[in-house]
């Protein structure tokens, strides 16, 4: 059973389509990784799923069609999106950012236990809970963005280039935490990345996008097996 | 083609062009010439005011329609022009034709100076600053320190200019001629301005300010100049208004006038030269009609007109008129054209991205 099923999705920004009828799937509890160069349409894919741009095609989450819904409705259904650039509420504190992530939760206890879980994954955020979010480092803001996405107890998380602009050690730490989250929270993940090598270790399914079309779809071994793609995305 | 055939074709084309647009011009001139003769003196007075309002509205349209900057204080510049004329005539007996360039210079300078700090910033700053100017202007006129110059609350009364050289024209008829002349000059000048490189720069600044700046256009200077020229236009209208009404007083130039000018450009058509005329007709006749219904009605009409125009007629009356004209022309073309092979039909060009 797939958690997310995208079929024949086309989307663009008004000047012509950027995505051309792509098909993507995320299995229940699985991790799908989408690779591609700049402009390949990876971010557009996530924005289309989240309802942030005009799109055509079918998008289903747990057998519910979301392709006609507004962004906030999709978020309330349990699909959270960590956007390109992190989308931090820079003027608010770390704790307030996280609290906003839990906006759709009813009940103070639920929110409290959500905080506990997020702080356990990201102890650094607990230390900086009263600090203004705009003053956090790049890595901490990325943690905050992911933490915020987890606060609502989502069933599917969309992650847009979490490694962007981070130092290698920070990226390793972040992916360790992502693996931990995936194992413990039973959440499905659709991950978009340029840094292929480290993302592949997490993935059970890989897609390669080129100019808005899918050129590879399969398990990670497929990518490792294709010499030209391996050279392009894994550098070896 | 032989020379004879070419000459015949050319004559055909020229004659064709003569019949349509030249006929329109002749008809308009005939109408304009007939108006002062057939109208009663009160109607002529109103027509004169329409011409004056049209000039004032054109001034504001230059700033707001073409320049994209909103001014809620142009009534102050209208009043400034009016008072300049009135004071020059009343205190120093300056002949009225000379007061017009004086009013123009005063309003150009003060408009430029006022616009200079505000246009460096967001549109809302200019809107607030001009709103403040529009509200405060009557107060400045009433203050005691300037009473010697402005006549304070009483205002200043002046005489209407009479026809020169003993021409057999009434004062209103002579004023009508003067107004048409000035209006022709102003409308032509503005038309040349907006159709030329300056106009393109101004509209580039309106639509894509960052891009315009990045290609080297000094946006702040252009915006300030636009403000100055726009204030000058409206100021000249004010000067003419003083001559027509023969009186200037502080309460004639309140924020209601500024809002009226805004209604004029919105109802007439933003970024449209002919729109100034439609707008002037609207603000000259509709509020006074409404006033007979109730005291609140003129203000209500202004408010509703502003909101409704944005939703229903975003291009104003000028847009409606040109839309109708386009549809009529298309229908006429379809009727007069013989059936042509489909290959010759050129589809209408699609809107670019």
């Amino acid at each position: 059973m797939s958690r997310l099923s995208v079929s024949a999705l086309s989307a663009g920004y008004g000047q012509g389509p950027v995505l051309h009828a792509v098909d993507v799937e995320v299995s229940d509890g699985g991790v799908s990784v989408v690779l591609g160069a700049n402009g390949a349409g990876k971010t557009t894919l996530l924005r289309a799923i989240s309802g942030m741009i005009e799109r055509e095609g079918t998008v289903t989450v747990d057998a519910v069609r979301i392709d006609g819904m507004r962004t906030e409705e999709i978020a309330r259904l349990g699909v959270t999106h960590v956007p390109e650039g992190r989308g931090t509420f820079a003027g608010l504190t770390t704790e307030e950012n996280l609290r906003l992530g839990g906006y759709t939760r009813k009940g103070r206890d639920e929110v409290a236990s959500a905080f506990e879980r997020v702080y356990r994954h990201f102890p650094r955020l607990a230390q900086r809970r009263r600090q203004q979010a705009g003053t956090l480092s790049g890595g901490e803001q990325q943690m905050l963005a992911i933490g915020r996405a987890l606060m609502s107890g989502p069933s599917l998380v969309l992650l847009d280039e979490p490694s962007f602009g981070l130092a290698p050690r920070m990226i390793e730490e972040l992916y360790r935490i992502l693996e931990d989250i995936h194992a413990r929270e039973h959440v499905s993940i659709l991950l978009v990345e340029q840094n292929a090598a480290i993302a592949l270790d997490l993935a059970d399914r890989v897609y390669v996008f080129e100019t808005g079309r899918v050129v590879l779809a399969g398990p990670p071994s497929d990518l490792r097996g294709d010499a030209s793609l391996r050279r392009a995305y894994l550098g070896s | 083609m032989t020379v004879a055939v070419q000459a015949f074709a050319m004559r055909r084309v020229l004659w064709g062009r003569f019949t349509t647009s030249h006929a329109k011009v002749i008809a308009s001139c005939a109408l304009l010439a007939a108006l002062p003769i057939v109208s009663s003196s009160y109607h002529l007075f109103q027509i004169n005011l329409v011409i004056i309002d049209a000039i004032a509205i054109l001034g504001l349209n230059l700033l707001t329609g073409y320049g994209g900057q909103i001014s809620l204080g142009h009534g102050a510049f209208y009043g400034l022009g009016a008072y300049t004329t009135a004071i020059l005539i009343h205190r120093w007996n300056v002949p009225y034709p000379l007061t017009l360039p004086c009013a123009a210079i005063v309003c150009l300078t003060l408009g430029f100076a006022f616009g200079l700090p505000a246009v460096r910033l967001q549109g809302l700053h200019l809107a607030l600053a001009t709103f403040a100017l529009g509200v405060v202007f009557p107060q400045i006129l009433k203050c005691r320190a300037l009473e010697g110059l402005t006549g304070g609350v009483q205002g200043i009364t002046i005489d209407k200019p009479t026809a020169p050289l003993g021409l057999a024209l009434s004062a209103d008829q002579w004023l009508y001629c003067v107004l048409l002349a000035v209006a022709a000059v102003v409308f032509l000048a503005v038309r040349l301005l907006v159709q030329g490189p300056t106009g393109r720069a101004i509209m580039a600044i309106r639509d894509r300010p960052v891009a315009a700046a990045s290609v080297g256009i000094d946006t702040a200077l252009y915006k300030s100049l636009t403000f100055g020229v726009s204030a000058m236009c409206t100021g000249v209208a004010g000067a003419l208004g003083a001559l027509a009404v023969q009186f200037v007083g502080p309460d004639s130039f309140s924020i209601f006038l500024s809002i009226g000018l805004l209604v004029g450009i919105v109802v007439g058509g933003l970024a449209s030269i002919s729109g100034a005329v439609y707008g002037a007709l609207f603000i000259q006749f509709v509020p006074s009609l409404a006033d007979s219904v109730s005291k609140a009605a003129p203000t209500a009409v202004y408010g509703v007109a502003l909101i409704a125009s944005v939703h229903l007629m975003p291009y104003g009356a000028a847009g409606v008129v040109s839309g109708i004209a386009r549809r009529l022309a298309a229908r006429a073309r379809r009727r007069s054209k013989p059936a042509v092979a489909p290959a010759r039909e050129v589809p209408a060009p699609e809107e670019g991205p």
């Binding site: 820079a90 906003l100 | 700090p117 107060q139 805004l262 203000t299 408010g303 909101i307």
Partner: protein
């Protein structure tokens, strides 16, 4: 000295009203990025409603509460019916709609309630407290009511989840949608709050200025000046700016330009802020999206 203190005290009272209106302006600006030109006239309509209730014999604080509640609803309705459809257009059209709204509301007030000037009752006693010569009871009351309202607003924004959601929308509307906040509903809420704040301001200033359709135009000018002075996106700045403008207005009127040109100080302030410090005392310079 006594006259000076008196000017300062009444300046603070007026300033409290300007602070409230400036805060309402900042609230709407932060969420919509537009200045609500119709803020004053909204307050005017609210004040007239209160006047009608009071004339019908309703006791003051009941009428006060009812007006605040009704104004909230009216603000939400105006946002939905007039502002939201226009928000899809370009910036110029939106400003034109705001101005049209200002003018239409003003004419509504004149049409329904007439153009005669009325006295508006104050809930505070007529005698100055403790027989002092500096501050009247109404002036003290205005400052107290305003400060109370500001405290309530602060608590709302700081400690409630709805307040947090509003701050989030002001900060980053796209991310707000991503966490499930219904942004359009928040805009309506913001308008409702601003209308309520305006209603309080109107009811506080009406006993001083007397109620007629032109009551709010001067007041709004000072409120605009206060909001610009404090920084159009800073709520704290709006409050500080409001009190400052109130005191400045009175001192300038008494000692510098005379009472006829008091309004000119608002103009001077606006132009001054634009020339010397466009972001205001506490505002943030905004980065423009290319």
């Amino acid at each position: 000295m006594e006259a000076f203190l008196h000017q300062v005290c009444s300046g603070l009272a007026n300033g409290a009203v300007y602070a409230s209106l400036a805060l309402a302006l900042v609230m709407i600006y932060r969420v919509t990025h537009f200045v609500n030109f119709a803020q004053g006239e909204l307050a005017l309509v609210s004040t007239y409603c209160a006047f009608t209730l009071l004339n019908a014999g309703v006791s003051y604080w009941v009428a006060f509460a009812a007006t605040v509640a009704a104004s909230f609803v009216f603000g939400v309705v105006v946002e939905r019916v007039v502002i939201r459809p226009a928000a899809r257009g370009n910036a110029l059209s939106v400003v034109i709609v705001y101005i049209g709204l200002m003018v239409a509301l003003n004419s509504l007030a004149g049409w329904v309630f007439g153009y005669t000037t009325h006295a508006f009752p104050s809930p505070f006693p007529a005698e100055p407290p403790f027989g002092n010569h500096y501050v009247g009871s109404h002036e003290l009351g205005v400052v107290a009511v305003t400060l109370g309202m500001l405290a309530l607003l602060y608590a709302f924004f700081r400690f409630t989840s709805l307040g947090l959601a509003l701050r989030a929308v002001a900060e980053n509307p796209e991310s707000s949608r991503l966490v499930g906040i219904p942004v359009e509903r928040m805009l309506a809420l913001g308008w409702g709050l601003a209308a309520s704040v305006g209603a309080v301001a109107g009811m506080m200033i009406a006993p001083i200025l007397f109620l007629d359709p032109s009551m709010m135009s001067g007041v709004m000018l000072y409120a605009f000046a206060a909001a610009l002075l404090g920084g159009i996106d800073s709520p704290g700045g709006a409050v500080v700016g409001g009190f400052a403008v109130g005191v400045l207005e009175n001192l300038a009127g008494a000692y510098v330009v005379g009472t006829e040109l008091k309004l000119g100080t608002a103009l001077a302030l606006i132009v001054g802020v634009l020339v010397f410090r466009p972001t205001g005392l506490f505002g943030q310079p905004s980065a423009e999206r290319v």
